[in-house]
Symmetry: C2
Subunit: 210 residues, 2 copies
């Protein structure tokens, strides 16, 4: 029999090791980029021999793809709060809060995503052209409705979305610069709160929603 004696136990080991490797890979890819990352570095960070990485992920590119896909799912989930809101103030406020929280909790994921897009999205181009494009079009239509209802100024919905992405992701992607300008220390709880409030206040007032 070629089948393993206890498939569920083997699957549990696989799931656990894959998660361990993915976590290490996200950190290394964020800190060194795809080209600068090495399987040896990821293996050391995961505490495994390099050969084990190739046992769970055939190639470096496969491993990278999984990391990027994981990030993309987190981003999509954060967008849910945009939909169930009664108006622009609640929707944009909740969206900014959610995205700022991701920038704080998953800075490495945001960096990997930024790097992927900056290099021309070689891995997730199809997601950009399908899922992201559809999501963007839907949210732009939502914003246009609010404009038509007189609940906010007649701003360009696309450029407003870009501003939302840019301002929130900046705290992850340029976190090192912000930390340096903060005297070398990470933002405190109070500073993160001030960051969220600043972004929400300026954007919501800027579009005439408050």
């Amino acid at each position: 029999m070629d089948e393993p004696a206890r498939p569920q136990k083997r699957n549990a080991i696989r799931a656990q090791n894959e998660a361990l490797i993915l976590q290490a890979a996200e950190k290394v890819f964020a800190e060194a980029g795809f080209g600068g990352a090495t399987m040896q570095l990821i293996a050391d960070m995961a505490g495994l021999p390099k050969a084990n990485l190739h046992y769970y992920f055939a190639t470096k590119e496969d491993l990278y793809r999984r990391v990027v896909q994981n990030i993309f799912e987190i981003w999509l989930h954060a967008a849910d709060c945009f939909d169930n809101a009664p108006g622009p103030v609640e929707a944009i406020g909740a969206y900014v809060d959610a995205k700022m929280e991701i920038s704080r909790r998953h800075p490495n994921g945001s960096k990997v995503w930024a790097s992927e897009v900056m290099h021309g999205a070689p891995v997730i181009q199809d997601y950009l052209e399908t899922t992201l494009r559809d999501w963007t079009a839907g949210r732009a239509a939502l914003i246009q409705n609010w404009i038509d209802e007189g609940r906010m100024d007649a701003v360009n919905p696309d450029h407003l979305l870009y501003m939302l992405w840019a301002t929130t992701q900046h705290y992850a992607d340029f976190g090192h610069q912000i930390e340096t300008l903060n005297g070398g220390a990470p933002l405190s709880d109070a500073q993160w709160l001030a960051a969220k409030d600043s972004v929400k206040r300026i954007l919501l007032k800027g579009i005439g929603a408050v």
Copy 2:
């Protein structure tokens, strides 16, 4: 005699070839990252043998450092318009215009900078701690003066500066994503104008300056 017969001619050749290599290097570093870039790719793009790159730049890291420094100087120069303005509307308006123009004309430089900062600024950390920190403190004081004079809302100056950087650089760093969402076409002149106007209008109204 070891001296060359015509030093100025030799220097002219050096300056010309260095500029050619730096231009090619900026593009390759932006598209592939430091780790993904190869001296061979840069040489091919510059139309020179690989050995010539090492004749003008000792190591790959030296070449990269020069590219990053060039970008930093462009950024600093763009900040001049921030100073000579009579008030927040003119200063921030001109600064946004200048930075958006850089995002359009030097997208590769912006990407190399973003990548450098994302990876922890291994090359330009000293610039962050000196030149950039000083510049930021000066501009934050300027903003605080405008607040004290009642010319704009009492926003946090640091977070306002981060928003300015984030929103303007986003059009370079995430240009590929924006282009994809734009149906695969680069932004037209009119669309760039709309982008500038959107950013300026939302930010200036958001801080209560207009």
